[in-house]
Structure formats: C-alpha cells, structure tokens
C-alpha cells in the first residue's frame, strides 16, 4: 500500500497547489479538498471555476470524471449490501480508486466476510490521511511559489497521466483524440460548453466505433 499511496500523496500535493494557483481562496480550497475528495474531478473543474463556467457544466464534468465510481459502487454492494443505508453511503463516499483496487485484490470473492470490515476501514483512514495531509500542505505552500513557474501545470500533467492509463486500444485513442480536438475547436463557445460538446463527441464516437468494430474478446463484466 505504501508505494501507490506515496504516488497519490504527491498527486494530492499537486492538487493542493493547483487549486490555489487557479485562483481559489484558501478557505475554499480547503473546503474543496476536505469535502469533494476527488482529485481528478477537482483538477478538471479548476479551469471551469476560473473561467466562471455555469454550475451545471462544472457538475456535468465532475460527474463524468467520477463515472468510474458508479461501477465501483455496484461492486461494493456485493460486500457491504447487507449494512444499513447510511453506512453504505458513508463507505461508498469514502472509498476511492486505490481502496477499491486493493480491496478487490485482497477479497476476490464478492461475498461478505467479517474480516473485510476492519481491512476496509484501515485502508479508508490511511488513504484519507495520505491524501488530505499533502493536499493541505500544497494549499499552504502554494503562495510561496511564483505563478510564472507554471506549477499549476503539474495538475494538467497528472490528469494527462490518468487519461493515458484509461487508454485501452485504438477505439479509446480515437474517442480521446476527438474529445481533445472538439474541446479546442469549440473553445469559443459561451459558458465553457466546449467541455460538454467534447464529452458528447468523445462518447458518441466511441459508441459508434463499438458498433462498427466489435471487440475481439468480450468485455470482462464487473
């Protein structure tokens, strides 16, 4: 757990710096890291917040970036579906990518077992701390770093890395490329609608390609 959470801590530091460099007041940045607790969605929302995009565009973007969690939640249900609703929602909210990956690796059989509860909460607490501490540190240090250095760009590089790790086969390359071109080409649209246009274009192209070129092997069902 130490290796991956070290990488995540560095990313949290970058996110903390990027939030302040994008112009968020410090208390707002602190609230964002503590409550939203979703690095990719936060970084993706920063240029939109800076440009004064309408709320629904910001939330649509955050929702799309977070869509992977919807699938995770279906999986969590197999382990914790018997718990009361408030516990389910709390554990779902606190469980991020790394928790999911490690938990599913440790408990491949999707069935409840008593030893899962302490394992789950150990991972959750550890992950929360190793995200929030460096993120707050980044917020605190951001003002000491000159803006001209362009360190907010580290956030762009982090998102680019996440995007690369989502590429799986030519169809995703095409869909991603179309989304990138659409986002730039439609940049002049009001209300930052270029983001929505680009998401729609990328998903549409991907789904059309799925229809034209079926996968060689069946998708693994989650």
């Amino acid at each position: 757990m130490l290796g991956p959470s070290l990488g995540m801590s560095a990313w949290a530091l970058v996110t903390g710096v990027a939030m302040v460099k994008a112009g968020l007041p410090v208390p707002v940045a602190v609230a964002m890291t503590l409550f939203v607790y979703a690095g990719s969605a936060q970084l993706a929302a920063l240029p939109l917040l800076a440009a004064g995009a309408p709320l629904w565009v910001i939330l649509t973007t955050a929702f799309c970036v977070n869509l992977r969690f919807v699938i995770f939640s279906a999986q969590w249900r197999k382990y914790f579906g018997h718990r009361p609703r408030w516990q389910r929602l709390l554990l779902g909210y606190l469980a991020v990518d790394l928790n999911y990956v490690l938990f599913v690796r440790r408990f491949p059989k999707p069935k409840p077992a008593p030893e899962q509860w302490p394992y789950f909460w150990g991972g959750i607490v550890w992950n929360w701390l190793s995200w929030q501490a460096p993120s707050l540190l980044g917020i605190a240090l951001a003002d000491r770093i000159p803006t001209e250095w362009g360190l907010g760009f580290a956030g762009v590089l982090a998102l680019l890395g996440v995007a690369y790790s989502l590429l799986a086969g030519r169809k995703t390359w095409v869909a991603g490329g179309v989304a990138a071109i659409a986002a730039v080409a439609a940049f002049g649209f009001p209300l930052k609608l270029n983001i929505v246009v680009a998401i729609a274009a990328g998903v549409a192209v991907g789904m059309v390609l799925d229809r034209w070129i079926p996968d060689a092997k069946a998708e693994p069902s989650t």
Binding site: Y37, A44, N66, G150, A163
Partner: protein, 109 residues
Amino acid sequence: MTTAQLVIAIIGMTVVSVITRGFFLMSNRELPLPHWLMQGLRYAPLAALVAAIAPEIVMTNGVLIDTWRDARLFAVAVGSAYFVWRRDILGMILAGVAVLLALRLGLGW
C-alpha cells in the same frame, strides 16, 4: 466567480462525489447494471479528462498557440515519453515539471 458561487460549486461537487460513489448503494433493492452505463463508462471519463486538459496545453488566452517555443509542449512531450517508458504517473509529473521549469526559467518560454 464570487465566493458564494464557489461555495455552491463545492457543495454541488460534494453531492456529485456522494452520488457517484454511492450510486448502487443507495437503493435497498439490488439494481441491475444497465448496459448503456457500461458502454458510456468506457469513454466518458476519458473524454471529460481530455476535454479539461487539451485547451490548457495548446491554447493561451483562448487562442491556439502558433509557436513551438512553448514550455508546456516540451513538458507534455517529455512527460508522455516517461509515461510510455515507465507507466508511472508520479515520475511523469516530475519529468514534465522539470522540463517546464528549465524552459521557463532558463529560456523564458
């Protein structure tokens, strides 16, 4: 944006975190995973991420850059090469930022 608008945006994004992470945990009955969601999931996060970052890399003040002497392009190129080599996001950020700082502070790009 005013502070009030920012606070509303953060409340909204918090709700998005809760809804997406708890999506299939909310109902007391088991819901089947719809097919369109599986399909959209494959492309929507990628499209959203790429849409957010592409303008940050190739545009300045809302205009496509017309010079190759832009530190960001080299930072992305070197970072991407590092990622292809090692598949490591942390190293990619460090390599990209190192190039960015060298070109910004050294050559003023």
